[in-house]
Amino acid sequence: MTKKVVVTGLGALSALGGNRYEFWDSLLSGESGIRPLTGDFPGQLKIVSAAQIQNFDSQLHFSADRLPQLDRYSQLALVVAREAVTDAGLDAIELQSAALVAGTGCGGKETDEQAYRQLYLDGRKRLHPLTIPKGMPSALASQLSMDLGVTGPVFAVTSACASSNHAVAQALMLVRSGMAEVALAVGSDAPFSFGLLKAWEALRVLSPDTCRPFSADRKGLVLGEGAGALVLESESHARRRGARIFAELLGCGMSADAGHITEPSVDGASRAIRSALHNAACSANAIDYINAHGTGTELNDITETRAIRQALGAQAERVAVSSTKSMHGHALGAAGALELVATILAVYTQTVPATQNFTVAGEGCDLDYVPNDAREMKLRCALSNSFAFGGLNAVVAVAAY
């Protein structure tokens, strides 16, 4: 029998607020974190809308001697991980033997871009010695281990927009296998640096106004930044220490399209969903909610709809499907963690957050997308989908506890 794994701590930092409480309140009230893009950029940008964290003061969170080591993506990761650990009530000894898996799609882009600007544009002869340790894609994992005193297995995974869900899958397997009783899964991305924004513009998938997943008039995704964190532990460990249990982490499914570098595949996504159901020992009949990848791009939303139908069959008709990206934007490598926090809180509170900005269903988008109003309903099991550029898919299954 597979060891039961439960979720006992949550953290969320996004355009919807500085903690999981603000995140959830905003998701239920339908408040949008999508606003006009702000920032000091050295050139013209076509991007007008973004889901940026408001009023993040790094000096409130980090001492003057720590800050120079921390790229923004590490800063966001540390803040949410501290929240999740406090939320779970873990002490220093429990943290010491824990595992930690961090997901990021972009890594320390801000650091890299500043460095390259100094070299290529400003004609500087040398770079700051912290450029590598601050910007490397595993920097957040190292910084998290140092900040929290986690000395078990710690590493970073990267799979673009599925990074967080792949991190959760690894953390789940570490606990199931007995390699750790407690495993933190953290996802973080801070993509608002000029070069990265220009690169996103080149893909022509960004909405000129807002994010309208599954609607006929959807115009693309809205980039977001943020971080999410979850504390996973074996059920026996959680019960022994009397922890509050938000939900059971039932299982995960992963697949690769092995197809196109940007175009998603129905079969690939569907296989990830079916694999998650199989891993969770859960039938389609028991799934009541899916937090969709739901980016608001033409291709994703129609492909995801077909994949859900292919994987769940007739059960797809009665499943509530919503995209919270309509409010917190697409936080890339952090998306899965933020959306899993939303999915778990949905199961915990028996309330599904809506797909906001919904107008009229798009062609081929024919599921129940919970348009514009959050819904109280009976929730047994739920899925959280992440389907990354490059065809890397990861789906996580949770159940009410």
């Binding site: 001492s63 003057a64 001697d65 002869k125 040398r126 700051h128 010695p129 912290l130 340790p133």
Partner: protein, 81 residues
């Protein structure tokens, strides 16, 4: 020139270690100031930037006191002049 180098080095150490310049003198050992190898290369980076000199890796071997740093830099600055 020596006064300027002294001031630049002390400022760089104080900045990196977040300590007062007043606690640093020529005879302070780098160990007592808590200067790790990463601190040392960061301090050297600051000094290189400000004095516009290139400090070779060999010059960073066997540094134990603030005076050792000052001596090494003075030689480089003199050879440049």
């Amino acid at each position: 020139m020596d006064t300027n180098i002294y001031s630049v080095v002390v400022k760089a150490i104080a900045k990196q270690k977040q300590i007062s310049e007043a606690v640093i003198d020529r005879n302070s050992s780098l160990e007592s100031l808590g200067v790790s190898s990463l601190d040392a290369i960061t301090i050297v980076y600051e000094v290189e930037e400000i004095l516009d000199i290139e400090i070779p890796n060999e010059a960073l071997e066997n540094l134990t006191t603030v005076q050792d740093i000052l001596d090494g830099i003075s030689q480089l600055v003199q050879s440049k002049a």
